[in-house]
Subunit: 82 residues, 2 copies
């Protein structure tokens, strides 16, 4: 199962890379340290999901899809790009 | 220890409340669902810290203090406020 998970993870990373490359070349994104990228984009939704599993928040995360998507976009978008 | 932790947590929440109330009244912040606030602000740094403890990232989080602070501010600030 570990090997399968690693394979899925690698494939996922390649998919993400392929998806984002043209946007990165087009300077759509803010310059951010590579190590901060995943925490900034995924941290909030993972944190929400963890709180939901703990019963600390009640609302289905789907209700906040736009909130989290907008926040992620505000965080990573290049403010000088159109 | 659980009671002590709860007391610290309550005191911390009151401190945060006192600190933020005037800013909230001054409409400095975006309107966000209350349940999303902590995940949006704390999620990224907690995620980074978790990755650091796992050895997935190497840089001391202090080096990224401004990156995470700027991201949090971009996420919560009211874009229409001065």
């Amino acid at each position: 199962a570990t090997a399968e998970l690693a394979a899925v993870s690698t494939e996922y990373a390649q998919l993400i890379g392929t998806y984002f490359s043209p946007h990165i070349r087009a300077a759509a994104f803010r310059r951010l340290p590579e190590e901060c990228w995943a925490p900034l984009v995924l941290g909030p939704v993972h944190d929400y999901a963890r709180r939901w599993l703990n019963g600390q928040v009640k609302t289905d995360i789907g209700a906040y899809a736009e909130v989290f998507a907008d926040a992620a976009w505000n965080t990573v978008r290049n403010p000088d790009a159109r």
